[in-house]
Symmetry: C2
Subunit: 267 residues, 2 copies
């Protein structure tokens, strides 16, 4: 149970396409791709399209979908011949929540925070080496940037990303961050060394602010939630207008840090 080593978070399902040849794939992998595909499309999909989407043979896809539907992981969507996630997945998901204090309390705290501040608030975690918005609660502003729950964003684009990587070795970080990830939405390219420096700073100060990284109009404030001394399990973050005053920003950060700390493991 050596736990310090860098092999902790390896994701080998390869995003998608790099399966160049139509090589034979394990059924389970096909299923994982199917689930992931449905997650990204966020809507019921025809089986034909699904086959294309995960680029699997039609026949195979039909078989797998039938099995998954029988098992309740997928359901035929009401209208016709489309499939989407099924009740079973919901039930398993609730089991996860039930077994996970942090998530349960975190969701609560995020909802509170966004209600109290009026800003969009999010709970973020590392999910197989990627930054994931686990729960978010929209603010009351007319224009809110809504990042869907479950969205995966490159780590370097976010304040939370910098905090989440606080505990990792350089090698592990290099593993998790691809070249593409360093290319910001506005076209600038972040240098890996700068990113790693940011991480160190974030670790030291105990919070992180990024301005105009994912889009030009927002600032992102983040604070770490610890599951053990030094181990960042999650972050809470607030998304505020980029022109929010220094003073106000400071206030919010203080609030955020307090809440995040209250979620952390006692010690």
């Amino acid at each position: 149970m050596q736990d310090g080593n860098a092999l902790a978070a390896r994701l080998d399902i390869g995003p998608d396409e790099d399966r160049t040849s139509g090589s034979r794939e394990k059924g389970l992998n096909r299923v994982l791709h199917i689930l992931e595909f449905l997650h990204t499309t966020q809507r019921a999909v025809g089986i034909g399209d699904l086959a294309k989407g995960v680029n699997a043979p039609r026949s195979t896809t039909y078989t797998l979908v039938r099995e998954l539907v029988d098992a309740g992981l997928l359901e035929m969507a009401g209208d016709g011949n489309r499939v989407y996630f099924g009740k079973k997945l919901y039930l398993y998901g609730m089991d996860y929540v039930r077994g996970n204090d942090l998530l349960r309390r975190g969701r609560q705290e995020v909802d509170n925070l966004s209600r109290e501040t009026g800003e969009t608030s999010e709970l973020c975690m590392l999910q197989s080496g990627r930054y994931t918005i686990v729960h978010s609660s929209p603010g009351t502003r007319p224009f809110r940037i809504s990042s869907a729950t479950g969205l995966q964003i490159p780590l370097p684009w976010t304040a939370s990303g910098r905090l989440l990587l606080a505990g990792f070795e350089r090698a592990a970080i290099e593993d998790m961050v691809s070249e593409d990830d360093l290319l910001l939405p506005d076209g600038r390219r972040l240098r890996l060394d700068d990113f790693i420096a940011d991480i160190a700073t974030a670790k030291a100060t105990g919070h992180c602010v990024t301005s105009g990284l994912v889009d030009a109009y927002t600032k992102c404030l983040a604070a770490p939630v610890f599951s053990a001394p030094g181990k960042v399990e999650a972050t809470m973050c607030l998304v505020v207008p980029i022109d929010t005053s220094e003073a106000k920003t400071g206030e919010l950060i203080a609030l955020l840090r307090g809440r995040a700390a209250s979620l952390s493991i006692p010690g």
Copy 2:
């Protein structure tokens, strides 16, 4: 899309043991068993125990668990070498909720109902041929019978079961109800014909009440939620003390029917 036929809901994952010989199983099936096993145990499980639990070869189990953990469907539980559901399943589950108006509104309505009445309230659905508590909200009574979400109970034991089967042919009902299901917790055996008669009554009156069926102290009131005229998609139910007065019961049923109707598809 013939939908009247009885083959609709067949669950062939066979509970567990009847796999007499060590016949070779598809990986996907093993995975489905693993998920189901974790769902029933409701706690993190060691991989060895898991292999025993789903009675699969250890080597296979290790392989599958590793793949599932890499994919994020499972997670190694904090303490050591146990696994439980992972964040991915939570995310997929939330996708399901998002894509499912009924569930989303139903959860809300159930929460309201239990808050207003002080009684335990539940949203129930048919899940691959079995009765499932999809969401429940505990009442304020000192002794509350808490049936965990996701619990699967034999259809004949419940008021909701009678409503959920309202649209089905006799043959389909026979398919879904086993001999064991007809044996009530108190040892009495329900006759299938009586059960089917109950279903007809429930369909006609638009609600259903059962007294002391799952336990001797409670009454269960249920009302149907329709997804189309005649098609019962779900039920809402209230669990109240068995000695609740006729008058009070009538009141609650009226309330319940109203709420359930409000969830039903417009028509």
